[in-house]
């Protein structure tokens, strides 16, 4: 436990929270909407609630945003050889 322990975060339990599996099914839509500046929290309010209270899905979401920005767009005809494997 760290000094940052915050009961408002650690006790978050929104009735809109659809759970990990449902969020996994929509996470890619949420991320692309966010990258398109389309305010995904209005379109996917349940995803937003879940990401605020599930540390595992939040970490996946951060990784997915990073990957979507860094490695896409990509076309199958492109070369993906890693320059520094």
């Amino acid at each position: 436990m760290t000094d940052e322990w915050n009961p408002n975060v650690e006790l978050a339990a929104s009735p809109n929270d659809p759970g990990c599996e449902a969020v996994f099914r929509q996470q890619h839509e949420y991320v692309d909407a966010l990258l398109a500046s389309a305010e995904p929290s209005q379109v996917y309010p349940g995803v937003e609630s879940h990401l605020l209270s599930c540390p595992a899905c939040r970490e996946d979401y951060l990784g997915l945003i990073d990957a979507a920005e860094r490695f896409a767009p990509a076309h199958p005809a492109d070369s993906f050889a890693d320059p520094d494997p």
Binding site: N8, E10, A56, P76
Partner: protein, 220 residues
């Protein structure tokens, strides 16, 4: 479907690269194999980047990280080939595909957590919930009462499984995928237990006169 969601879907469907990925994965012969090879190479780069992003807390070395990246990529490719017909064009194909490899990285890195942390597992972390951290005397009193009630609720109101999950995830900061593996359940089932524990604790706090937002220090 809302107007905003429909617009996003239409924009994604216009994405030529996404169409090429799906066509390649659903093709036969060399066109299919070339697409799989390209996707594997792309996902491996994503996996390597993701394991590096997460590696700091696990103290894993280069060969172990590369092994996680390779395994995550192989498993993600299998899942994507099996589920490509589920891609509806609501996002770019690559974003849809990347979540599989990121999920696999998360799951596989959870396996390594206990090798470093089992020795410091703290069953009694909840007994040391912070107290008196707020700035003003009034807030300090309120916060002390809040954590006293919370400690009692964790001990009395939660089931043994809920207490074990809440202590691990919320107090000991054990990664959920690591703890799900320890319990032999999937992430969703573990989160449901955590969610129910949180809801029960909030009910206990409310019954004792503590409503959200709970007092926290402004200086921390």
């Amino acid at each position: 479907m809302t107007r905003a969601r429909a617009r996003l879907s239409v924009e994604a469907q216009r994405d030529d690269a996404s169409i090429a990925w799906v066509n390649g994965l659903q093709a036969t012969g060399s066109a299919h194999e070339e697409c799989v090879v390209a996707l594997h190479a792309l996902l491996l780069r994503v996996a390597r980047h993701e394991v590096a992003r997460r590696a700091g807390s696990l103290q894993l070395g280069g060969p172990e990280l590369e092994d996680v990246a390779q395994q995550a990529t192989d498993d993600a490719i299998m899942a994507i080939r099996r589920r490509v017909t589920e891609f509806r064009g609501e996002s770019r194909f690559t974003t849809w595909a990347f979540r599989f490899v990121i999920f696999e990285v998360s799951t596989k890195m959870g396996r390594h957590f206990w090798r470093e942390r089992r020795a410091v597992w703290d069953e009694d972390a909840w007994e040391r919930l912070p107290s008196g951290l707020a700035d003003s005397p009034e807030l300090r009193v309120e916060q002390r009462e809040l954590f006293s009630t919370l400690r009692r609720a964790i001990d009395v109101d939660l089931t043994p499984l809920q207490r074990r999950v809440f202590v691990a995830i919320a107090l000991n900061e054990v990664p959920m995928d690591a703890f799900a593996r320890e319990l032999g359940v999937n992430r969703n089932a573990l989160y449901k237990t955590l969610f129910d524990a949180r809801r029960k604790l909030r009910t206990s706090l409310l019954a004792a006169g503590h409503s959200r937002p709970y007092p926290i220090s402004a200086t921390r």
